[in-house]
Symmetry: C2
Subunit: 402 residues, 2 copies
């Protein structure tokens, strides 16, 4: 392995130099990409956690975790300290550990499958669920009113084993092996403190979160997220996404957000038999162009009143929902076939918002009236408060867990 | 959409020109990548099907299919004709259909989720299983002796619902949505004739099949496939991979191959607790470098006798197995958690070979003695004869199904 500037930067100056010259077997940083392009590193530190306003990466590995019996609040603090340090390293493309355990007698600090891969724009984003605020950790008094379990919503067909969780971690990257590696090693660091309750892989982003990104297509073949909140719109981000300084917003969550996850199964075989006209009337947009029905440009102004009353984009439009907006950041998934031989595939919906009531308002309307309900089922669900970001040296969640 | 040379090429000359100028809504070909790089198209036609000697792409969608009751051999021929035409289009980055059904009253020919994506080096590769040669289609007399069901092998823990199948299709691409789209649309074309029996996604290749590729790492963190048969080694390909003109090799399979698939679950949590020394003794290679134990270069000559007697690479070495070699082309997978909360992840082993006895020899040895068995379980299995390639205008499998 050649010693490059990037390897040096990644392994942190002098320490990195020492490591990189110590022998090819124990270099701390991963190898650089052939040709040396951009670094593919998303900054870990900042007022907000990365992975929300970050331009949506291509792949997802999401995990919901439960705290094990007997764990104390101090144990949780320790875990958050380990997770913060590990996440900062992982997002720089480094191994999870300090690289010390080259000892043959100990298990390796890092499981190794990402060695040689770039950082791949990895972000890891942590949240805390309503159940963490029960009587186990003395946190009941710190629970924001907005962080209750989601109410029953029309059309819910939820599998509880794929719903909820004391904690969550969203790992996004442009390489699935990098996202998998992050979740696996974070879960490993949590052994004895947390166990994975459920997890979900996503293989293609279904939303743009930046004006620099083209709108992707979901598994219905439609462009998805055309009217999404974009990170460049600072005012919309402040109004709709980031928890701020309102009296009902707790200080420990300022700069954080709320995350709603919904595993939305698409009834692919049924959809595939629907005519193009039906599909377009259902969504309210043209399939090829993504333009609102009757228009030809994807970004043409959408006039809800001109669309079919039960069409998805009309019902989901902010004008129909007292201005409610979400930053959607979902992924397509497929998990093979379910028991009846139908494809278990769809949209793993992830949305960030300043107040979960935005989603509740929206889903109450969509669950009741959306023509799309003929073709989808919500089969998993979760709500988490997503912690604010941290400065170098600080620990995620310390204001909550102190 | 701009009319580019690539769009023209893809839509096939004059017809493409007509289509591409007919209006943005109904362009046949997908949009080109921004910046116009290489075409990411793997040739569909040739003496062998693509997807075997093709440099292994990054993502996999594999499906095993069963023929529905009442289907005739002529129906199968028709299906193969539809699949051949569709595959040729898909691998050029085109929609699956002829693009004719822009009619609002009909379901779209193509499901649409790959519109705007490149061809992503897609290959689709078809095989026929032993069960196709029962009494349903009058093919019993054409079954090669080598195409029996795999015998019971030591350590098998097979789930029959994730094993076997009358037919298989392997879709590989550098974009998972392109691979998913291919299998979905091929299954859709087969409606009424075949149903998907099981399917498997793979998210990271675990073998190189070209000397131009770096050796990837599997989920154990080890480099995998260092000593794989490489496509550039024409002699090894002829000896070990392609069915040729031996008297026991049927004419309909000449230029084809045999494919063994094994879903190999890794007991990740157990592996992650093993010491680095144990892991390296188990595999017979160093973890970081991939070099044989005691050496420092990945490609150092491997001397089986110098490695632990129960180490994986010693037992799998051709010298240990009467020269048996395979072209491995497997993928890492993870399908969430299984019932006991353990990670359902591992290696979806795919290997191409001239004679299935190569795999049977190897797995009889490995299943009995390999130290790796402490950490893995074979939970799915299948064997298929992989059809020869076709010339333009010809139909896959026509020599078999005539």
């Amino acid at each position: 392995m050649t010693l490059t500037r990037r390897a040096l930067l990644r392994t942190g100056g002098a320490a990195g130099l020492a490591a990189a010259t110590a022998g090819a077997g124990f270099v701390l940083g991963r190898e650089t990409d052939a040709g040396g392009g951009p670094d593919h590193v998303v900054a870990f530190h900042g007022p907000h956690q990365a992975g929300i306003a970050t331009a949506a990466q291509d792949r997802l590995h999401f995990a919901a975790l439960d705290v094990e019996p007997g764990v104390t609040r101090a144990d949780l603090r320790d875990l958050m300290a380990r997770w913060t340090a590990a996440s900062e390293r992982l997002t720089r493309g480094l191994d999870v550990g300090a690289g010390a355990s080259s000892a043959a007698l100990a298990p390796p600090d890092d499981t190794g499958e990402a060695v040689g891969l770039s950082a791949a724009n990895l972000t890891v984003t942590f949240g805390v669920g309503p159940s963490l605020f029960d009587d186990r950790f003395g946190l009941a008094g710190r629970r924001p009113a907005a962080l209750g379990p989601l109410p029953a919503l029309p059309g819910d067909a939820l599998d509880r084993s794929r719903s909820d969780g004391d904690l969550c971690v969203q790992a996004c990257a442009d390489d699935p092996q990098v996202a998998f590696h992050a979740v696996r090693n974070l879960a490993r660091l949590g052994r004895g403190v947390v166990t994975v309750r459920w997890s979900q892989l996503g293989f293609g982003r279904t939303s743009s979160t930046s004006t620099a990104q083209a709108t992707p297509r979901n598994l219905m073949g439609f462009k998805d997220g055309t009217a999404n909140v974009k990170a460049e719109d600072a005012r919309a981000m402040d109004e709709a996404v980031w928890v701020g300084g309102r009296p009902d917003e707790p200080a420990w969550l300022r700069g954080g957000s709320y995350l709603v996850a919904r595993r939305i199964r698409m009834l692919i075989e049924v959809w595939d038999r629907a005519s193009l006209g039906d599909q377009e009337q259902t969504i309210g947009r043209h399939k090829r162009s993504g333009a609102p029905l009757g228009a030809s440009d994807e970004f043409a102004t959408l006039r809800p009143a001109s669309l079919p009353p039960d069409s998805h984009v009309r019902l989901a439009h902010p004008d129909t929902n007292r201005g409610a907006r979400l930053l959607r950041r979902g992924y397509s998934f497929t998990d093979g076939l379910e028991a009846l031989g139908q494809l278990d595939a769809g949209l793993f919906f992830l949305a960030y918002m300043r107040d979960p009531s935005a989603f509740i308002t929206l889903q109450n309307r969509l669950g009741t009236s959306d023509k799309l309900n003929e073709y989808i089922k919500h089969v998993g669900s979760g709500l988490w408060a997503v912690l604010p970001g941290v400065r170098p040296g600080a620990v995620l969640g310390s204001a909550l867990l102190a």
